[in-house]
């Protein structure tokens, strides 16, 4: 029999309680002084959250194992307090067949740092021409429910409509990367004051908003679910608020970096101007957008936080801005950033964090066994988090194979102390088990 006693944890930030885990399941919660267990974890001062679930992770395997592998990516996830991640489809080969998604899913099982739920491509090869075999991926061992061409927008309105309709057959959802391609040709940075000054091609907010508006209307028209990836503008928030007010089945995510950073990072930052560590798709926006995104996450207009963890090797970032790869890693800092942007600002309590980083993403992804409340009978997916320390972000200490964190040189609050996946510790005392 396998037992773990977590002592004195503040569940969702509430009063300290002990949690007894037996055989991967939460057995008992309360004052359990005197209870014996094979492993006892002192959680005094720590917040207990349900294991975090990421709807948007790039694990890069197969194809770009120099940037990340399923092993290192899931290690990073565990270090960040995650017990499940959705692996995006833009690998090489693309995850557009049952074969590829099953391979990724099995690798996740094998390493066991966290569950890996593959996302299937919407179109073959992400080419935006023909639907991929969505049903075969749904029926595979990987049980794919989220489909996305992330990195590319399904810009063809007819194709998007068909995808939205088709996935209804197996309760799937299309997660759209909203980016009107013509409006963003050669785009480098949010179109605004900073891009104008820096002479970087502008990436207008409207390119995101126009697609979101169209897709909301399409989803309503065909009565399907739509999920919007990495919402980044105040205008997008307005459109989502309107769509939700209509009762349409639309959900949305925001990344930690869009909750904290702005396009001004490209101009001045601890790592110098034009440092492509801040180059990301969608681009960092303005203060006003950050404010709107935080409010939207707080009021539920935006359903969840998703990292868009996008590892890139050093040589793809130590370049001129224009040729650098887009994306930043985020699994290992997500909870800290959310604390900084949402909790310490009073916008969200820990119950809210659990909802936006665990319960809702699990529900959107139709992921069984994750995102459940910490209560007796639930699978013991638990994250213990210490919100009190504040430290300089150290990229070299990260588990990810890549180092492209935008928080280098910044201090962030908090630290993930332990992560349990179905009762098995994947991280203890901040270190991988």
């Amino acid at each position: 029999m396998n037992t773990i006693l977590i002592k004195g944890a503040a569940i969702l930030g509430g009063d300290p309680a002990d949690i007894l885990v037996r055989d991967g399941v939460i057995a008992e919660i309360g004052d359990l002084a005197g209870t014996a267990a094979e492993l006892t974890v002192d959680a005094a001062g720590l917040v207990a959250l349900p294991g975090l679930v990421d709807l948007h992770t790039h694990l890069r395997e197969p194809g770009r194992e120099d940037a990340e592998t399923v092993e290192t990516g899931t290690q990073a996830a565990a270090r960040g307090g995650y017990t499940a991640v959705h692996a995006m489809a833009n690998t090489s080969p693309v995850a557009d067949t049952a074969g590829v998604v099953e391979q990724v899913w099995r690798l996740g099982q094998e390493y066991g740092h966290c569950d890996v739920q593959p996302v299937g491509a919407v179109t073959s090869g992400l080419e935006g021409r023909r639907l991929a075999e969505l049903g075969a991926m749904a029926d595979s061992a990987a049980r794919v429910r989220v489909f996305s061409d992330d990195g590319k927008c399904v810009s063809d309105a007819v194709l998007m409509r068909r995808a939205l309709e088709y996935v209804k057959a197996f309760d799937g959802v299309v997660a759209q990367h909203a980016q009107e391609p013509r409006l963003t040709e050669g785009a480098q940075l949010n179109e605004g004051e900073v891009s104008g000054r820096l002479g970087l091609n502008g990436w207008p907010a409207v390119a995101e908003e126009a697609i979101i508006a169209r897709d909301c209307l399409l989803a309503a028209h065909v009565g399907s679910r739509l999920h919007v990836c990495h919402v980044s503008t105040a205008g997008s928030v307005e459109i989502l608020r309107w769509a939700k007010s209509k009762g349409w089945d639309v959900t949305a995510e925001v990344t930690p970096h869009h909750l904290l950073l702005t396009d001004s990072c490209a101009e001045s930052s601890p790592v110098g101007p034009y440092n492509p560590i801040y180059k990301v798709n969608p681009p960092l926006r303005t203060e006003e957008d950050v404010r709107a995104l935080r409010e939207a996450l707080a009021d539920g207009t935006i359903d969840c936080v998703a990292t868009d963890h996008a590892p890139h090797p050093v040589e793809d970032k130590e370049t001129e801005w224009g040729v650098a790869a887009m994306g930043m890693i985020g699994l290992e800092t997500a909870l800290q950033v959310v604390q900084e942007a949402m909790v310490d600002t009073g916008l969200l309590d820990w119950a809210g964090v659990a909802d936006r980083m665990s319960a809702r993403p699990a529900r959107i992804g139709r992921l069984a066994g994750h995102g459940l409340p910490i209560e007796a009978g639930a699978p013991a997916n638990i994250t213990l988090y210490d919100p009190s320390p504040r430290a300089l972000v150290d990229p070299s200490a990260m588990a990810s194979r890549s180092r492209n964190t935008p928080y280098e040189g910044m201090t962030l609050p908090g630290r993930v102390v332990a992560t349990f996946l179905r009762g098995r510790p994947t991280v203890l005392e901040g270190k991988l088990v």
């Binding site: 004051e193 104008g196 970087l200 101007p273 034009y274 130590e318 370049t319 801005w321």
Partner: protein
Amino acid sequence: MRHLISAGELSRDDALLVLDTAEELARVSDRSIKKLPTLRGRTVVNLFYEDSTRTRISFEAAAKRLSADVINFSAKGSSVSKGESLKDTALTLEAMGADAVVIRHGASGAPHRLATWVRGSVVNAGDGTHEHPTQALLDAYSMRRRLGRLEGLKVAVVGDVLHSRVARSNVLLLHTLGAEVTLVAPPTLLPVSVETWPCQVSYDLDAVLPKADVVMMLRVQLERMNASYFPSAREYSRRYGLDRDRFARLHDDAIVMHPGPMNRGMEISAEVADSPRSTIVEQVGNGVTVRMAVLYLLLGGSEPAIGGTA
């Protein structure tokens, strides 16, 4: 280490020091022995990722007149064309002991990046659609020589502001030096945030011309036409070109400038370009002098006397 990457990092005193130094150096250009020993033993690398013979030659002449050793490193036919990264090239130049790197690059911000990888001074000779600070300095120098002042001067900058590094640098520098800049362009060729720049904006060239002391015409890249920035070369020329009729509406002392190379017949008519009130040819000569001043002030002492940190 200090660099000259953006005209915006020059204080008024810095900018005036460059212009005054250039003024003194101009006297050297008039004598038979044009060479000065000042930068003997210093190495200046011209790192050019874009073809720009006129700018490269200008910097080369400036460095040579100050007795610096000049290494020309052009993207074509070098390891750069074989895909070597800017960082590796930078480390190579560093190993060669470059005291200054003059960089022309198609990517905005490349000089900033370079400055993080080399110890020497970085001089921006044009980066993408960002800046071209020595061009702005030579423009200001040319204006001051012709008109005797910069303070209060009314300068119209006309054309493709959106893609123009010359316009960005000129707006910043001329503002610092007290001139009043008006950008004139079709709305499609202005950045969306232009109202935050320290200048005026107009879509109407004819309304601006009578008040202007200086009209600076920017080159219009013909490929912009295919991207629907304006309907046709003819229409552009009719609305924003400086032809004889518009030229006649300038006041008598006003001058016409162009950073070159020109599209004669497009943004500027041949007779305007060749008129005595055009400074286009003397801008070239002034370019060498101003670049000498910049190199002297960055490299001539124990530490640079102007410029910003990257």
